[in-house]
């Protein structure tokens, strides 16, 4: 099966004055349709930079990124093959929603990039209402401003915005890192359900091992711009090969030594 997204030999170098900084170096991986691919690493590992290159925010210095076989970057120009096909949900819902816009305007914003006919069809009132209810908000929330919502609700708004164009591929960049544990559970459940219902493919970027293990099929561990280990989630968790992966796993505070101990 052909991969939906393929990243081949991608590097990213930032230059600031005389300093050069290699954020990503020679990264390869591929995501097949319908899977959730996890990208894990600590701060400065280059995982977020990769997310930016996939979504068109930063051009790679070298290497290619293809989506359905077509190259996404043509030099420094991003080829938006089909507007609305690929969407992103960011980490901080505090900053990812424009504080001066009402929820309705926020959610329908991605439609502005679509051709007029499609915009009208996808932006119909029924679809909007169905979507907002589906992510767990109420229709009368549409007229409110982001500051009137809690962190979890804001992230639901961000998810609704990402889904309004009916994308097939969604990049989730630390979508629950800014949320409380109980709220995180709600959002993760929602993301799981939506994926099943809409046949989505996820690129899930996170620093949280537990979240990656729970959400993803396959994963890549990044350290200092390189992928040090890649494979199925269960294999990596049970049998880590790379020493850095092992350190990561052993640093994770364990709630219980054995999970059978719990009596909920």
């Amino acid at each position: 099966m052909n991969p939906l997204l393929a990243v081949n030999g991608v590097s990213k170098e930032y230059t600031k004055g005389n300093h050069r900084f290699q954020a990503v170096s020679g990264v390869d991986f591929a995501i097949t349709r319908g899977e959730t691919f996890g990208l894990i690493g600590e701060s400065g590992s280059g995982k977020s930079t990769l997310g930016k290159m996939v979504t068109g925010l930063e051009p790679p210095t070298s290497g290619t990124i293809t989506y359905e076989g077509n190259s996404l970057w043509n030099g420094n120009r991003f080829n938006r093959l089909k507007p609305g096909e690929m969407q992103i949900v960011f980490q901080d819902p505090q900053s990812s929603l424009d504080p001066r816009m009402r929820v309705q305007a926020i959610i329908t914003e991605p439609l502005l990039a679509l051709p007029a006919a499609e915009r009208k069809e996808k932006g119909s009132k029924e679809r909007l209402l169905a979507l907002i209810t589906r992510v767990g908000l109420k229709p009368d929330h549409l007229n409110r401003y982001p500051h009137e919502f809690s962190g979890g609700q804001r992230q639901r708004i961000a998810i609704a915005r990402a889904l309004i164009t009916d994308p097939s591929f969604v990049v989730l960049d630390e979508p629950t890192s800014a949320l409380d544990v109980s709220v995180q559970a709600n959002v993760l459940n929602l993301l799981q359900e939506l994926k099943r219902e809409r046949n989505l493919t996820y690129l899930f970027i996170s620093h949280n091992m537990a979240v990656i293990r729970y959400m993803c099929d396959r994963m890549a561990v990044m350290q200092k711009g390189r992928i040090v280990e890649i494979g199925h989630v269960n294999d990596i968790f049970v049998n880590p090969v790379d020493s850095y992966t092992k350190t990561l796993l052993s640093s994770l505070p364990q709630l219980h030594e054995k999970k059978e101990d719990i009596h909920v």
Binding site: S43, L188, A210, V211, Y214, L255, H256
Partner: protein, 322 residues
């Protein structure tokens, strides 16, 4: 008991609202003990910490309760007594290592200034001890680091410096407010270990504020679980994490993806955290509780032994015996 908080309530006044941030909070910390205060945002855990240090904002006031430290009530202290207590008796480590240090003062000077204040020695001698204290928090080449500015250090290094600052007196109680939340997991691990070792060596008690149950499991002997400004459950780490009694604690553990099977939905808490301006008459958690009883909405539960006869494990829930 080193620290005993009894029936502490704190209100914030803003505009014309009154926000009850803490509602009759009681717990205690013994000498040499590490106690975890666990809760989500808005649970009042940071407010509790700031109350102990007398650093609450002007618009906050303590409406009831007492905080007794080594037998004396902190709330009746004069401003001057507070100032001599801070740092010397009770130290504090804040969450953000990036902003907690003075940006244009060298590390050594920041430490020396504090040591100079607490130990009544010359500044020069204080500086020498400052360098030594950097070595104690396992910083390599402490002389060099002492001459650096905070922006030249990594997050983990900075948090070590913050810990060295807080431990410089050394205090008998260290309050650590989410000390590792801003750090990477691998560094978090080291910093927690460091705190644990230092506390053990000096006999310092630690009040560790965190939202992370994993951190609690790693370092704490006892846990206090807070929700919406109240203590809902308390006990030894073993008791609370292995046989949680309050529905909120149960949900908190169940919501963690750490233990969940892939494909199985996580145990989520429905609804939103309550409006702290209008506290319900009954249990604060009742509106979101999956097993609430009629009485839960009418009457406020109090902390009572979770299992009859238990001195340590206490829970504030009407349904604890069901």
């Amino acid at each position: 008991m080193l620290l005993e908080i009894h029936n502490l309530s704190v209100e914030f006044e803003s505009m014309q609202d009154r926000v009850k941030a803490l509602q009759a909070v009681s717990f205690s910390i013994d000498e040499g003990e590490i106690v975890g205060i666990v809760g989500e945002s808005g649970s009042g855990k940071s407010v509790t910490a700031l109350s102990i240090l007398g650093l609450l904002e002007k618009n906050a006031h303590i409406s009831t309760g007492s905080i007794s430290y080594k037998g004396k009530n902190l709330l009746s202290l004069s401003k001057k007594d507070w100032q001599s207590l801070r740092g010397k008796e009770i130290g504090m480590v804040f969450q953000e290592p990036m902003t907690a240090l003075h940006p244009t003062m060298r590390i050594g000077d920041q430490l020396a200034e504090v040591i100079h204040r607490h130990r009544s020695i010359s500044y020069k001698e204080a500086y020498r001890q400052a360098v030594a204290s950097l070595a104690e928090v396992q910083i390599n080449d402490p002389e060099l680091v002492a001459r650096k500015y905070p922006f030249e250090l990594s997050g983990g290094m900075r948090q070590r410096v913050v810990i060295a600052l807080a431990m410089s007196a050394p205090p008998d109680l260290l309050i650590a407010d989410e000390p590792t939340t801003a750090l990477d997991v691998t560094i978090q691990h080291e910093v927690l270990k460091l705190m644990q070792e230092l506390a053990q060596k000096r006999g310092t008690s630690i009040m560790l504020i965190t939202h992370d149950l994993g951190v609690v499991a790693q370092v704490c002997q006892r846990v206090v679980v807070m929700y919406a400004g109240e203590v809902v459950e308390t006990g030894t780490t073993q008791e609370v994490l292995h046989s949680p009694c309050h529905p909120y604690t149960k949900a908190l553990i169940g919501a963690l993806p750490d233990l969940a099977e892939q494909g199985q939905p996580l145990l989520a808490i429905p609804g939103e955290s309550p409006d702290l301006r209008n506290r319900p008459d009954g249990c604060v958690f009742a509106p979101r509780c999956s097993c609430s009883l009629p009485i839960c909405r009418e009457d406020h539960p109090v902390l009572e032994p979770a299992v009859s006869g238990s001195l340590t494990h206490q829970v504030s829930c009407w349904g604890r015996n069901q």
